[in-house]
């Protein structure tokens, strides 16, 4: 690992200032992704700003919703009584990711910032526009079994690897950030980017901006929810495809639906058209099958991930059935 400067500020302004002063500086929280990338030589920051002493660990209920401090660990969020009671989808998604050890270390802010697991991004001998803009995309014509179905570009077909992000997207989270120019709130749907011509940019954060909290609005989706993750082994693997489903069902009628898929795009893939289709429909296998087909509109597969064209709608269908309690 390259040598680097190390600073440990105690307050948010000190942390954001430390970033903007440095050429190649990064925040360090749980380190589960960043330290790995530094060992692999994928990133080589000249300076690390250790933010673990910042007062950003609280999880607290607010007017109708909840505010999750950016430094709350994944385990703390998944085990929190308010999250388990009001946002069970988030707990399910977090517990589907990584291992207990990693969830104890990884933070909510860090999980939002998690880099792709595309093997071409990790292998510094390979071309990758995300790691080295202009070098080309190794996955486009290479081994692309894990890659995107939606919203990819000719520059990058990588996917966002997070499970937590998929649930946060379905639950309409807001990401609060603080920078030297002040504070702002970013809707989760605007936080992560599609690759376009600039796959090196994973998200819409400006230089020096620090995630301080993730807020969730009051949610009626505390009962009929499911997070289904399909992967190469039963546990501790990244998703081939995942589906986050939250339904508000009254008298067997779907009053509202929130749906997102993981493992299929450069950002968590919200299914707004499918949500609109489901609203007002009865809970039935036929309705869910139609929904799963609508969700796949615009999907484009590559040489090795064609199986995802079948796996993705099946995953969503199964998650809809489980969330609604439909036995068929």
């Amino acid at each position: 690992m390259n040598q680097f400067q190390y600073v440990r500020p105690a307050q948010v302004p000190g942390a954001t200032k430390a970033i903007t002063n440095g050429a190649n500086t990064q925040f360090l929280a749980g380190g589960t992704n960043l330290i790995d990338l530094m060992k692999m030589g994928v990133v080589a920051p000249e300076k690390l700003v250790d933010i673990n002493n910042l007062p950003l660990k609280k999880i607290e209920g607010n007017a109708g919703g909840i505010s999750i401090g950016a430094l709350a660990s994944n385990t703390e969020v998944a085990e929190h009584p308010l999250i388990k009671a009001n946002y069970p989808l988030l707990a399910l998604a977090i517990n589907a990711g990584a291992s207990p050890q990693l969830r104890n270390m990884a933070t909510v802010g860090g999980n939002l910032m998690q880099r792709t697991r595309c093997p071409y991004f990790f292998d510094t001998a390979m071309p990758c526009n995300k790691r080295m803009p202009g070098s080309g995309c190794g996955a486009l014509e290479g081994y692309n079994r894990m890659h995107a179905l939606f919203g990819a570009s000719d520059k990058c077909i990588a996917v966002n690897p997070s499970d937590m992000n998929v649930a946060l997207t379905a639950l309409d989270a807001t990401v609060h950030v603080s920078g030297v120019k002040g504070k702002r709130a970013i809707k989760i749907s605007d936080f992560h980017r599609l690759p376009g011509q600039h796959p090196e940019l994973d998200n819409t954060l400006q230089k020096g901006e620090l995630i301080t909290s993730v807020d969730l609005p009051a949610s009626p989706f505390n009962k009929n929810v499911h997070y289904l993750k399909v992967r190469d082994r039963t546990s501790y693997a990244f998703a081939l495809v995942s589906a986050a489903v939250a339904l508000n069902i009254e008298n067997n009628t779907i009053q509202g639906a929130r749906l997102a898929m993981g493992g299929v795009a450069h950002k968590p893939w919200r299914l707004t058209e499918t949500e609109a289709f489901l609203k007002g429909k009865p809970v039935s296998l036929d309705v869910f099958k139609q929904a799963a087909q609508i969700a796949m509109q615009g999907a484009k597969a590559y040489e090795h991930n064609k199986f995802k064209l079948t796996l993705a709608p099946n995953t969503l269908l199964q998650a809809l059935k489980t969330a609604s309690g439909l036995k068929a």
Binding site: Q3, T32, I35, D50, N52, P100, Q101
Partner: protein, 212 residues
Amino acid sequence: MSGKKPCIPAESEDLLHGNRRDFLKKTSFLTAMALTPGTVVKAAEEQWDEKIAGVFEKVSLHIDVNGVKHTLSVEPRVTLLDLLREQLKLTGTKKGCDRGQCGACTVHVNGVRVNSCLSLAVTNEGKKITTIEGLANGNELHPMQEAFIEHDGFQCGYCTSGQIMSAVACINEGHAGSEAEIREYMSGNICRCGAYPNIVNAIQAVKQGGQS
């Protein structure tokens, strides 16, 4: 499993390796300067010398390992795993993948299990670390250590320290309610010998015995 060992202080480690390390530092510094002569001028103009020195600086670290308090001086890039093994000579914690994928390096930080390979030592300032060496009570093995022997929870033994540290945490966290739950919450510890059924048996035995 051996009991607590006396730890070699950081200074003696530096005495052993100081010359080589100093040489590497100086040569990498000089190489950097030789490659980019313009930076020398610029560094002088913008007073970068302090920042460059910052890169080579060691950071003080106060850390409690298995009940022994240490005041150490470490480079920021040293992981908790390397600190334990190389500087404190506590080699019970194993380096497997060194990437957070295998769990062999699992230790407890303030009672919580983590992958020590992905934790920079300096981020553990003021924390209490428990390694496999700190689990036994003198010559009396921890119940999980006894159970791993009793149930043959290993073959080659390389993953065992991590498995045991993880297993103790698994019960403490309340995630050992069933075989399925144990398997899910032990999935961060890989055993290439495939001792999984016996590991699950050992954890269930400790759980049923009410010890952890």
